[in-house]
C-alpha cells in the first residue's frame, strides 16, 4: 500500500492536493480504498485524516472493502423504474441469494444499484463490470450471469 500511495502522490504532486483524485486513483489500482491507508494519504497530501475519511465516506463510488470479482449494478432511474427495474433487481437477488450492497458467499458477484446510467431509451439497464445491458427482462438474468462463470 505504501508504494501505491507514493506512486499516486508523485503523479498528482504537480497539482494542488486533490483528495478525491487521489482516492479514485488508489481505488483504480487496488480495487478499493482500505481504511488503513487513510493516515498515509493524509500525510502525503498534507491534510488531516478527518478530511480524507470525510471524502471517502461521501462518494458512493468509493469503496472501503474489496468488492466481488464482478460488480453488478442495476439502474434505478425513472425510465428503468417505469420499465420494471424492480422485477429485474428481484430476479438478481433471488438468483444470487444476496441483497443490494452485498457480495455473494463465493466472492464472485457484488450486487448494487445505481441512480442512472444514461441508457434511459434502452431501459431497464444492468451494468456488469463494463458491460452495459439494455432492455433487460427478468427472464434473461440467468443467461446474462452465465457469461461471468
Amino acid at each position: 500500500m505504501h508504494e501505491q500511495v507514493e506512486k499516486i502522490h508523485r503523479q498528482v504532486r504537480s497539482e494542488p492536493p486533490n483528495i478525491l483524485k487521489t482516492l479514485l486513483a488508489l481505488q483504480e489500482q487496488v480495487g478499493h480504498v482500505p481504511v488503513e491507508a487513510i493516515p498515509e494519504i493524509a500525510h502525503s497530501l498534507g491534510t488531516t485524516t478527518a478530511h480524507i475519511a470525510g471524502v471517502l465516506s461521501y462518494y458512493p463510488d468509493l469503496r472501503v472493502a474489496a468488492p466481488g470479482r464482478h460488480i453488478i449494478r442495476v439502474c434505478m432511474g425513472e425510465s428503468c423504474y417505469a420499465n420494471g427495474c424492480g422485477r429485474v433487481l428481484r430476479a438478481l437477488q433471488d438468483r444470487l441469494r444476496t441483497d443490494v450492497g452485498e457480495t455473494t458467499s463465493g466472492g464472485k458477484f457484488t450486487l448494487d444499484t445505481m441512480s442512472c446510467a444514461g441508457n434511459c431509451a434502452v431501459s431497464p439497464t444492468v451494468l456488469i463490470d463494463r458491460d452495459l445491458y439494455g432492455r433487460v427482462l427478468p427472464s434473461e438474468v440467468e443467461t446474462m450471469l452465465e457469461r461471468y462463470r
Binding site: P16, P17, N18, I19, L20, K21, T22, L24, H51, G54, V55, Y58, Y59, P60, D61, L62, M76, G77, E78, S79, C80, Y81, A82, N83, M114, S115, C116, A117, G118, N119, C120, A121, V122, S123, T125, R130, L132, Y133, G134, R135
Partner: protein, 498 residues
C-alpha cells in the same frame, strides 16, 4: 478492400446496449464489410440501426440482427433515413451531427460547419461575443435556465484571475442522456463552446466534470482533447487553454454547480451558499463559468449563424431549440430536438408514437427525478420555461419519462423521496432531515399505517423544503411527491389507516 461495402453503425453506449456491439463483433472479420462507427441519431427504438450510402442519402435498416446482413448487402428492405418520421419531423441544430459523423473526425466536424463559431469569436471582441449571446436570448440548458450572457458578463467583469470554464457533464437526472450523446458523439462541439466562452471571459483553463457512470464519454472526450491540442486549437490569443477531464464518483448532487466545484477541488461535494455566485468566486475562489454540456454545445452556432437566428426560434421567453429525451413506457424512446413551444401531448404523440404495446398512459414526469408529474389532462402545456414555471413545474434538462397503468404512485413517491434522502449532501437541514422524514412518512403510508394527518404533514414538509433548502435538490424534491398526491389522491387515501 475496394469490394467491401461501407456500413454505418453507431458506437453510442445505448446503441451498443441495444445490440450494435453484437453486430460489430459478428461482422468484424467479414472481408465484404467495412464498418464505420458513428454517433447515434438518437432514434433508440430503432437501434441497432445499420445504414448505407445511396444516391439519395443514407438508407437505414432498423432493429438489425446479425443474420440480416445478406439483405443489407443486397440493398433490399432498407428505409431512406429522411423518410423516418421520428427524425424527419425534428429541427436539429445542436444535435445535427448525430448519426452523421465519426465522433473523433475533426475534418468531418469542420466540413459540417464546425469551428466556424470559434473563428467568428476570434474576429469579435469579448464584449461583442457577449452581446451576440444577449441577442440570442440563450438560457442555460442544465435546469436553472439562467441567461447565459448575464453570467458571462459577471465573470468577464470579475476582478482577479485566473478564470476558469467548467463544463458540467454530471448528467445525473434520470431520464436524460443528451449530454452523454454529445460527449460520446460530437465532442468537438463541446470543446468549441468552451473555447468561445473562455475567449469571452478571459479564462485560462477548462475542466469537464464527467460523471463516473459515463466511462465511454470520458474516453472519447480525452481523445478529442488530444486531437484538438494536436490541431493547435487549445490556444487563445497565443496562450494555451488546456482542458482537463475530471471524473466524478457517483454523487447526484455534484451536478449542482457549487457542489460540483467542491468536488472538482477534491473535497466532499457539498453545496455552497450563494452569493457569491461561481461567476464571481467559483473554482478555488476564482471567477468561473459553470455551464451544462448542452449549453456549451449550443453556443458555436449562435456565433456562426448569429444571435438573431437563435432568437428567431422558439417562444417569447424560451428561444432556440430544446433537446428532449423520451423514456419510460413510450413506444418510441429517443432524442428529440425541436423548437420550444410544442405541447407535451404533441411531443408524446408525434415523436413518442403513443404508449408501448400493452401499456396505458398514467402520468408523465418532466425534468428528471425532481420534476413534476402530469396526468392525462395536463398534457396541453407548451414546452417552454415560462409555461412550466407558471404551472409550478420545471423543464430541467429535458428528460420526459412516461409511466403506465401498472405504476403504483405511492411506491413511486416513496422512490423519489428515498432518492433525495440518499443523495442529499447534508449541508442544509430542510433537505437533510426533511427528505428522511418524507421517506419515512411515505413508507408508513405504503405499509398501511398512514393517516390523513400524514398527507397534511407531507404537504407542510414539502412547503418547508421548497422554501428553505439551499439548492434545487431539496427545493425541488417535494414536487414529484406532491404532484403524485395531487393527481392520484385515491391511491394514497386508499392506503390510509381508517
Amino acid at each position: 478492400m475496394s469490394s467491401a461495402t461501407r456500413l454505418y453503425l453507431s458506437n453510442d453506449t445505448s446503441a451498443r446496449a441495444a445490440g450494435a456491439g453484437l453486430l460489430a463483433d459478428a461482422w468484424a472479420a467479414r472481408p465484404d464489410v467495412q464498418l464505420i462507427r458513428l454517433s447515434s441519431r438518437g432514434a433508440f427504438f430503432l437501434e441497432p440501426m445499420v445504414e448505407r450510402d445511396s444516391p439519395d442519402g443514407r438508407v437505414a435498416w432498423c432493429n438489425v440482427q446479425p443474420e440480416d446482413l445478406p439483405s443489407i448487402l443486397a440493398g433490399t428492405g432498407g428505409t431512406p433515413v429522411r423518410s423516418i418520421p421520428f427524425l424527419a419531423n425534428q429541427t436539429r441544430f445542436t444535435c445535427a451531427n448525430f448519426g452523421e459523423t465519426e465522433p473523433l473526425a475533426l475534418d468531418e466536424y469542420q466540413a459540417r460547419g464546425g469551428l466556424k463559431g470559434l473563428e467568428e469569436a476570434f474576429r469579435l471582441t469579448p464584449d461583442a461575443i457577449i452581446e451576440e449571446l444577449r441577442v440570442s436570448q440563450l438560457r442555460g440548458r442544465g435546469g436553472a435556465a439562467f441567461p447565459v450572457w448575464n453570467k458571462w458578463k459577471v465573470a468577464q467583469q470579475a476582478k482577479g484571475g485566473p478564470k476558469y470554464v467548467v463544463a458540467n457533464a454530471d448528467e445525473g437526472d434520470a431520464g436524460t442522456y443528451c449530454d452523454r450523446m454529445i460527449l460520446e458523439g460530437d465532442p468537438f462541439r463541446l470543446l468549441e463552446g468552451m473555447l468561445i466562452c473562455a475567449r469571452a471571459i478571459g479564462a485560462s483553463r477548462g475542466y469537464v466534470y464527467c460523471r463516473q457512470e459515463y466511462p465511454a464519454a470520458a474516453v472519447t472526450l480525452r481523445a478529442a482533447i488530444q486531437k484538438a491540442d494536436e490541431a493547435e486549437l487549445l490556444e487563445l490569443d497565443g496562450e494555451p487553454f488546456p482542458i482537463e477531464v475530471v471524473q466524478g464518483a457517483g454523487s447526484y448532487v455534484c451536478g449542482e454547480e457549487t457542489a460540483l466545484l467542491e468536488s472538482l477541488e477534491g473535497k466532499r461535494g457539498v453545496v455552497r451558499a450563494r452569493p457569491p455566485y461561481p461567476a464571481q468566486a467559483g473554482l478555488f475562489g476564482r471567477p468561473t463559468i459553470v455551464s451544462n454540456v448542452l449549453t456549451f454545445a449550443t453556443i458555436p452556432q449562435i456565433l456562426s449563424r448569429g444571435g438573431a437566428w437563435h432568437a428567431s426560434l422558439g417562444t417569447e421567453q424560451s428561444r432556440g431549440t430544446i433537446a428532449l429525451q423520451l423514456g419510460g413506457r413510450v413506444k418510441h424512446p429517443g432524442l428529440v430536438e425541436v423548437p420550444f413551444g410544442l405541447s407535451l401531448r404533441q411531443v408524446l404523440e408525434q415523436f413518442g408514437g403513443g404508449m408501448a404495446p400493452g401499456s396505458r398512459f398514467k402520468a408523465v414526469q418532466v425534468g428528471g427525478p425532481l420534476g413534476s408529474l402530469f396526468p392525462a389532462d395536463g398534457l396541453d402545456l407548451p414546452i417552454c420555461y415560462d409555461a412550466f414555471a407558471k404551472a409550478g413545474a420545471v423543464l430541467g434538462h429535458g428528460g420526459i419519462v412516461v409511466y403506465d397503468h401498472e405504476t403504483d404512485m405511492v411506491d413511486l413517491a416513496r422512490h423519489f423521496m428515498a432518492f433525495t434522502a440518499d443523495e442529499s449532501c447534508g449541508k442544509c437541514t430542510p433537505c437533510r432531515i426533511g427528505s428522511v422524514r418524507g421517506r419515512e412518512i411515505l413508507e408508513r403510508i405504503q405499509a398501511g399505517g398512514g393517516t390523513v394527518e400524514d398527507l397534511t404533514l407531507l404537504d407542510d414538509l414539502g412547503e418547508t423544503m421548497k422554501l428553505a433548502s439551499l439548492c434545487a435538490l431539496g427545493g425541488r424534491a417535494p414536487y414529484p411527491v406532491l404532484t403524485a398526491i395531487e393527481h392520484f389522491p385515491v391511491e394514497f387515501r386508499s392506503k390510509l389507516r381508517t
